[in-house]
Symmetry: C2
Subunit: 120 residues, 2 copies
């Protein structure tokens, strides 16, 4: 049993890609250290935005609190909120923003991972 604290006081601000009101608190060691995945908690303050950029690795935004919008390759806003996950492919342009604030667990990986598909 090993514990990692990712509460807000362990987070730091990120302003790359023109992001505003965005903080990150790591849960795992970074991919650069050799693992197959990295996970972190990202929080957007009310009015915050993670600026548009291409995905470095395939990853998922799992929204766990709050709501906002994502924009993908077509740039159109798509409303998302707690209990929704958005998968991005490597190189895919994407952004996320919020009026009310949101919290998400972001998981990135270096190998094959597929979204869940409901049995039809």
């Amino acid at each position: 049993m090993r514990l990692v604290d990712f509460r807000p006081d362990r987070a730091w601000s990120i302003d790359v890609f023109g992001s505003v009101g965005l903080t990150q608190a790591p849960i795992t060691a970074p991919l650069a250290s050799g693992g197959v995945l990295q996970a972190a908690c990202f929080r957007l303050d009310p009015g915050g935005r993670m600026g548009r950029h291409p995905a470095t690795y395939p990853h998922v935004f799992a929204i766990v609190e709050g709501k906002g919008w994502v924009g993908g390759a077509d740039g159109r806003p798509h409303a998302i909120g707690a209990g929704e996950a958005v998968f991005w492919d490597t190189g895919e342009e994407h952004e996320i923003w919020t009026d009310d604030g949101l919290t998400m667990i972001v998981i990135e990986w270096t190998a094959e991972v597929r979204p869940y598909e409901r049995p039809s």
Copy 2:
């Protein structure tokens, strides 16, 4: 951009290991389908418990809402809550329970992943 809905109405109950008040909603496809990780949202109702069992894969409980206790190899209760992550090794006995309810993102993997370590 691919979306996966993991809200409570997409979850189902799990009663293995003597678990009570526990539901799971997948975010990724299962490890059995060949990926290197699987992620899902687990929710414990107030008074709920995931029963004690050895970890099948290394994994992390990232608590995103609520609070409760975990017990690891030594069986002693350890208080945990939103913003804390608990890593388990393969084979490690563990359990989690709550009086008030909690929600966690659970990530399991098949290869090397390490917890985040704060710079000292």
